[in-house]
Subunit: 323 residues, 3 copies
């Protein structure tokens, strides 16, 4: 993926494919803009006309409610024309390649492709083929990348706990199959997180080559001891090679489920995060999910603000290309 | 459901879950506002900017063309941001609960949830969980409630036949499984309908505890004798506990299908209603459905106007909550 | 279909069901208006407010990405209210007839129905039933008609090669099952195309009664010899009566697949067209599809412009009807 430039020649954000290749100041700039788009729950959402005349196409090859809704609302609130295509049931049925679908939508003068796909490399491959003025945003790619999720997790942590260099963050669960963990890791490493621990059963911890700089722990209590941030992950059933490898929910909850009791090992003011959708009673119990440590809904609100910020930033690239 | 307040502390409509708990003057006020939004077929629809900046999410857990289209057009014509989610195929597939989906969309700053569900209590349960400024509109709930349908039926009857106190209304068909009948009953009872008759095979008449004040009749001719209004219902195949209980269509038509000939038992100027979708040749024949007694399309037009009125009224609650 | 008037009493375009019944000057007028809506790829798309307050309903009974996206973007860019319904999964499931769905949407004050259906006669049947101010646009009808495709093909040919009277056009492939070929034929015949050749295996050439004035050829090299325009078609697997009749892809490519080598039989400056979605390696190889002869993406851009032009023209009929 490194060969795709996410920044254009004039230094503007063009694509958002992974956080790995972005500079820290770019991430700061996106989060700063996201703060402009953040209004309290209950207040009306921020609105802007910055995407007027820009066509955003949501291409979700994997089903999604939350990410699609978040991108769709973000784009609408910035006054874009938004087209959401369920590509599973139409072109692919006729055997068209993804790239031909992209060429077709590009010829209809689409400007931004928001892409989710279950296989690795699809967003980058699209970015490699589109015309120079077009932007590609990765909305979830196999188990490798989900950059807007990484940004919203970082934004939430900064908002709730301040400077990451002084924080201990524990990511708990199915890290092996999680693009959320990968993108959170990349975001936190850019900001020199104090300590990052990966916690879960050995078979769900990632390959040793990945997550350099993070420690690994199979015991939950040890893993979250003294943590400022505890991030639970969903068991990604759809990404296990064999059904038989999927952990038994009750057994998993017994060993790794977050509860108020277990969280006493963490710091008193530790926050609990989850990217959703939650399996209550598996990764987390309801008292914790809805409790005062939980910033799970805050993450969602930050998510829409982050997506507005990313859309707003790439729109400058697009307008320059439009001439 | 009675424990959910549909009216806020300042006397504004907040939720619309059932007509039972609404005061008559509230219903009058909605219908009066709906008349403002009613333009003749062929004329351009009414438009308003009253929902500008308001986010309406359609959550249809049961498939629907007509009600979803009606709410979607109503919200668009009032300038709302509209998001329609087919929740069957996304989050529920991942095991997320309805309430977590709601919390997520609330955190994205959705303001109005339009909910249809096959089970009883889902709209009220959502209303119980949402933040104070948010509104929940019931767009069809199992066999118990479909309040905007009740309002549009009342509005159509008033428009076509005037004051309900002087009218005899016969509801014909599968009343046992019909939320349409329940909401029409509630609306008509608020307005002291002259006489209300439930007509159908004994096994499709409702439990004795329900529909107090209405008479019951298994013979169609007797049931519609002298009626001003004859409302046919669809056989709700999807709500029968056993397939074997579903009436044979030909036999049903022979006994309860509305035809011009049978309608001679009703008043000369009787109108014929049907909530749609119609099974022509089962509940009603085509000559009647398309004939001069039929106000079936009028009902649809009133439906969009009623939904605009309801959306406009709850928007005042939302704006007050937005502060 | 001939009995449906596509032009209203005042001479305005009302429906677009087939090109056969349109006068040449009408087609010229649509294409002329489409040129106004054509901006280069990379430039922002043309926008207009001409459909403000007009409700466009996309009723796709067959799945489609490209045509639905094209109509949806065309309508949005003209400021219409757009409702896209996947009718397969909702009303039809409840047994409602297509015409009752139309009556319902008409009562919700829809103005334009964009209809795709796998069976012959559905768009005309809808046109026969709608109120006088309403327009019906055929977005693909079985194997018989796809008029906006015919218009965009003609527009592309004129744009790239000029006056059709001096051109030799070869349509290659599954002409028997192709509404694209039928509509291209109708468009080209209105403009006295110099020579039109139908090229393909004998079993995929159309009935002798159809395509009067076109020659037939089973040998590809002979069929495209000296051609100015070579239009490849997709094998319409879904329209074969028996699976066993569907050509083997490799064998088909060997005999009829377009390659740079084979195109040497055509004129040096010949263009290559394909309506999409392409089966690369079956009807056409990638070097040709992406090569300098290819105007395939140009066709897509012309398609959106043509659909904007058609929507704009029927909107004049609608506004007159709205009074």
């Amino acid at each position: 993926m490194s060969e795709i430039e996410q920044i254009d020649a004039a230094g503007r954000l063009r694509h958002l494919l992974s956080l790995e290749g972005l500079e820290r100041r770019r991430i700061e700039s996106i989060i700063e803009q996201a703060h402009h788009y953040l209004t309290p729950i209950g207040a009306p959402p921020a609105r802007d006309t910055i995407l007027e005349g820009v066509t955003v196409v949501n291409l979700f090859f994997e089903p999604s409610t939350r990410t699609r809704a978040s991108f769709e609302l973000a784009a609408r609130r910035l006054s874009a024309d938004v087209l959401s295509l369920d590509v599973n049931t139409s072109s692919r049925a006729k055997g068209e390649s993804v790239i031909d679908t992209i060429y077709t939508l590009e010829a209809m003068q689409a400007d931004i492709f928001v892409v989710r796909d279950a296989s690795t490399g699809v967003p980058a491959s699209i970015a490699r083929h589109v015309a120079p003025h077009i932007s590609v945003l990765n909305a979830g790619e196999s188990d490798v990348s989900h950059p807007t999720q990484g940004l919203l997790d970082l934004m939430t942590i900064q908002l709730e706990k301040g400077d990451p260099t002084r924080l201990t963050v524990a990511i708990v669960g199915d890290i092996r199959h999680s693009r959320v963990a990968r993108s959170a890791y990349e975001a936190l490493m850019h900001f020199q997180v104090g300590e990052l621990r990966l916690v879960g059963p050995a078979e769900l911890l990632p390959d040793q080559a990945l997550f350099a700089g993070a420690s690994r722990e199979t015991n939950l209590e040890k893993g979250i001891a003294g943590a400022d941030v505890v991030m639970a992950l969903r068991i990604q059933k759809e990404r296990f090679a064999q059904m038989s490898e999927i952990p038994d929910p009750q057994e998993y909850f017994r060993r790794y489920g977050l509860t108020e009791e277990r969280l006493q090992a963490a710091r008193d003011d530790a926050i609990v995060m989850h990217p959703g959708p939650m399996n209550r009673g598996v990764e987390i119990d309801s008292a914790t999910a809805d409790g005062k440590r939980s910033v799970i809904r805050r993450q969602v609100t930050c998510g829409t603000a982050v997506r507005m910020a990313v859309l707003a930033q790439v729109s400058e690239h697009i307008r320059a290309g439009h001439g």
